[in-house]
Every structure is written in C-alpha cells, then in structure tokens.
Symmetry: C2
Subunit: 330 residues, 2 copies
C-alpha cells in the first residue's frame, strides 16, 4: 500500500519505519528540516537488502522510505495519509491536504475534535496506545506498536465500514490489537488511563521543589508514579487541553476520591475505614491488564464492532467480510 | 554481629537473608507459623558452603539463619533487634521485648509514632526505601537493598551517636546509602514520595470500575501510575494512617495543584497556561534521581549529619570517629 506519514516524531517516525519494514511504500514529512534530515539519513543507513528493479532500472533499499519536502508532495498518490502531528498543528496540515481524495487517519490522543476538523474528508480516527516519555524521531522504534491497543473510531450510524477495515488490515500486521470505539468513548477512556495520569504525575513531581531530601528518598513508588511527568509540558498540555471536557470530568472524580481518603484519615478507625475504601482499587489493579478471553466471529457491522470494544474486546483479523475478534477475559 | 529480625515479610525476610549472607548470626521470627516454616525451609535449602567448626564440633551452613518460635527467643542475646512488622503490630511485639537490654531499630515507613512507642528503649528509628508491590517472605530477596536509601533517625539534641553509628556500620555493607534525618523530616518526605503516591495510584486504579474499555486501552502511563495500587490495602492504609498528619497536609497540596490544572483547562489559552504550569514539574522529574555530588568528611555530630541529610546527601562509610558522606549532585 502507498502510505504517507505526516509528522515524524516518536509515533510518526516509528510508524514510518514499521510500515516500510512490512513492505509498504512509505513517504514521510515533518515540518522541521532537522527531523526530515534525520529520517533521510536513517533511510540511507538502513542495512536492508538492496533490490534491483529490472523494469525501472533502479536500485532500492528494501524496507527503506522516502522523505518529502512538503505535505502535498508526501500525500501525492497516497492511498492512506496518516496525520501524526500534535492537535494544535492539524489545521495547518489540513489546509495543505485540501482536495486530497485518499483515506486519512490520525494518531492523535483525542478523537472528538479531530473528527470535527476532518469533516468532509474520507477519515477514520485512530490512536495507537503506545509511547514513551521521549518524543523525537531519534526515539522512534519500528517495534513500538508490538502488542499495543490501536483504536480505530466508528460511530453507531456508520453504514460503510470499508475504510475502517482497510486501516485495520494495514495496522494489524504490526502486532496490534484493533479496538473499535466511538470518538466520545475513546476520549473519556484516554482521559482516565492517560491524560489524568499525566496530571497526577506532574503534581507528584512538583513536590520535589526545594526539597532535596525527598528527591534522595524517592524510590520505586515515586519513580513509577512520576515517570510520565518527564514528558514535554507542551505535549501534556496539548493532549489535556484538546480533551478538556473529559479530562475535567475525570479529574473531578479523582479529586473526590482523594478527598474521601483525606476524610477517612481524619476519622476514628482511620486504618480500617481506609483499608475498605482502597480494597476495590487494589483488586482492579491486581486483575489488570485484561487477559484474552474467547475468540468471536463478527458481522461487518458498526454496532457489533462497537459492542465488542465497549466490553473490552478487540479485533484480531479482518479478511474480506469476515472479522475475527477476542473478548476481554477478566 | 548477633541480630534478631522480628517479622519476616518482604523487608524483614530480605534483611534476614542479606545479613546472614554478610556473615552475621541472624535469628528471625514471624507471628505466622506458615511464614516461619517457609523461612526455615529456605535456610535448610540454602546452597551455601557447610563449614565445620573444630572447636564446637558442629557443622553450620554459612549464610544460613535460625528461626525462633517467639519474639523473646529470637531476641535473647541479640545485640540488635530489627522490628519489621507493620505499625499496628508493634505494641504487641514491644510487650514481649519488655526489659530487653540491646539496641532496637525498625524498618517501618513512619518514624514519629514509632519513636513515641519506643520511649525508654535503646532505639534508633530506621527505614530502608526499598520495596515492591508483593509483600510476603516468598517475595524476599537478599539483594533488595542494593543501592537503596536507608534512613536512620537522629534528633538535633542527640549527643551520643554511638548506636546510630553501629547501625550505619551494620547496614552499609548491604550496598545502601545511609540518610540521617529527624523523624519529622522523614515523615513529611515519605508522605510526599511514597504514601501519597500510593493514594494517587489507588484513585487511578479505581477508574477501571465497570470500565473494561479503559482496562483494554491502558498502557504505559496507566501501568506505571497505578503499579503500587496493587499493594495490599491493609499495608497502604497502615502506612498512611500511621502518618496521617503529614499525608493529609501533602494530599491537600496535591489536590490544590490538581484544582489549578482544572482551572487552567477551563480558561482561555488553556494549552499555553497549562504548559507553563507544568514546566517546573517536568524539569524536576527530568533532573531526578539525584546524582552523587562531592565527597565530604563529617564530624561525629548529630547536627552535621542532619544538615547533610536535609540537603539530600548521605553517609557512605563510618569508621571509629570518622564519617564519610556525599552531597547530592543536582
């Protein structure tokens, strides 16, 4: 397949490399000249076999990629354009894609606002649940997506799921679990499992201010509880700000829980009360991550796909009008 | 040295094994018969060299340990008794140590209440900053303390630091950094870097309730942000409840930060405002953990030791009346 990847940070760069390694014809573009140069240099250096094509009389590096000098050049002729830029950069990129006839997807961590921006395009929103606190092309890794959940959005009213299936077929070979959800369900879930966790990590890391003793005593619980606070603040703010309604709702719930813990600690029998308050959270964490449950065969139908995703299941294979999935096992 | 370890969970069990491996004569005791049996079975199975002692005509397993059937039996003749039971279990253990003449230390994660309970004993409070979410003897590991910070408490008025130095000399060979702090400074710092992080992890894990989609989408930030929520709720509640004043104060500060993030997200220019709000936390986390700074030689003096600890430094060696330390490097 001919694929363009716009934005070559951690996710875009990793996807460029992963799709090229899987034999697709991939062209990348990044706004920063330095990143384009880094991506070009790595493509040349890739120690993949050189393949001579007798028809075109060219020699190509198998598994390598091309880097274009504009969005339009990258997207020209692409069957799929993947937008891998932060949400605030999307409008400028879309202006350059005006009139592009191909299928567009994205990897942004918020889906409602992107869906609204892409109205009028052939678009399926996506979001691979993969990342690390480093965020440049230098940190990219073609195996980044191995084993991750990859959201592809649907709405209950969607009647034609052909584009959705094309993207599932494109990404499944990277070793991902395709999760069908609506944009709204996605945005609420990622506020819970990604955006708000970044804010809690930042609030914990802020406790080190003027506090070298705490920094020296910090061990495993501090290390893990603050890891994602090392992410660039622009990225945390962009993902939380782009999903502000859901983030604020989840944050209010978390603050409510923290206030209940505080009240328990103030009351008589504090340890007993707090123990019972914490027990469900402990059990939920001990049962996580979900294990694969039972295999299911699904009709080519948005409602059936969404029911699977809402119940924690995912799609494992698509083949014509046959869709295989698996339920969540706990 | 002849050492007794009372309580053979993760920390006590690991310490029993580590001190035995370093050639000390170690006796352990646990309230649970099953744990005593597990500790005895491992002592017999330990594949350490059998050493014949021609004077006593006995054959001992080098690096093994003894398991007693009561606190009093374990403590009999011990130069150091280490209390490794949860805070709520301490009063019962102390009743059995009535009149014990030797030095007592502990590994509890809160130091003010333990100091108050131990009044009248030869006592130096301690706390190794090591752990994992498993908490039984089965999870014990003699290398658990390698590289960890080990708090030993002092107060500004302490004139005789001989017992403090004995314990520093006992634990330093396990590969630890000895951090001198007052009980109050310790309790505030661990509320920040351990107790409150456990509560934030629980509040995040609680979001999975009735929410299989979030469980399936959870990836690195959720995994790390909730890891310690898998700890037994009794242990989290005991450490937070035993340090309730400091925990509540730190929790109030964290809730204040979260409310400021919420306000930023509601305002105009949300992304810009939130970016600047988060920047100091990001920089603090990126500069963590502190690296070793400069070596220092210290007088045998509580005030000098406490100044080192307060500034994030630690003790690296004690030898008679010479104390070597190192400052925090960032």
């Amino acid at each position: 397949m001919k694929v363009a990847v716009i934005g070559l940070g951690l996710i875009g760069g990793s996807l460029l490399r992963a799709l090229a390694a899987h034999g697709h014809t991939v062209t990348g573009y990044d706004l920063e000249a330095e990143t384009r140069e880094a991506a070009r240099a790595l493509a040349k250096a890739a120690d993949a076999p050189r393949v001579a094509d007798p028809e075109t009389r060219t020699i190509a590096v198998k598994g390598a990629w091309h880097v274009a000098d504009s969005v339009a050049e990258a997207a020209a002729g692409a069957e799929v354009v993947v937008l891998a830029v932060p949400l605030p950069a999307l409008p400028d990129v879309l202006a350059e894609l005006e009139g592009h006839p191909g299928l567009i997807t994205d990897v942004t961590s918020v889906k409602g606002p992107v869906r609204d921006l892409l109205k009028g395009h052939r678009f399926v929103g996506g979001h691979p649940m993969a990342g690390k606190e480093s965020s440049s092309f230098r940190a990219s890794d073609p195996s980044l997506f191995d084993g991750c959940a990859w959201v592809l959005c649907l709405e209950p009213g969607t009647t034609d799921v052909a584009d959705w299936l094309s993207l599932a077929a494109l990404f499944l070979p990277l070793g991902v679990r395709i999760v069908p959800v609506t944009a709204a369900e996605h945005d609420r879930a990622v506020a819970q499992i990604s955006h708000v966790p970044h804010l809690l990590a930042a609030a914990l890391a802020a406790l080190l201010e003027g506090n070298p003793l705490a920094a020296t005593l910090g061990a495993g619980s501090f290390r893990d509880g603050t890891r994602v606070a090392g992410t660039r603040p622009e990225l945390i703010a962009a993902m939380c700000g782009g999903n502000a309604d859901a983030v604020r709702e989840v944050l209010a719930g978390v603050i409510g829980d923290l206030e209940r813990y505080d009240k328990d600690l103030h009351g008589a029998e504090a340890i007993t009360t707090l123990t019972e308050r914490l027990r469900p959270a402990t059990e939920l964490r001990q049962a996580w991550p979900p294990v694969p449950g039972s295999p299911v065969e699904l009709p080519v139908d948005a409602g059936a796909l969404l029911a699977l995703g809402r119940a924690g299941g995912w799609v494992t294979a698509v083949d014509g009008d046959s869709i295989s999935g698996i339920t969540a096992g706990n």
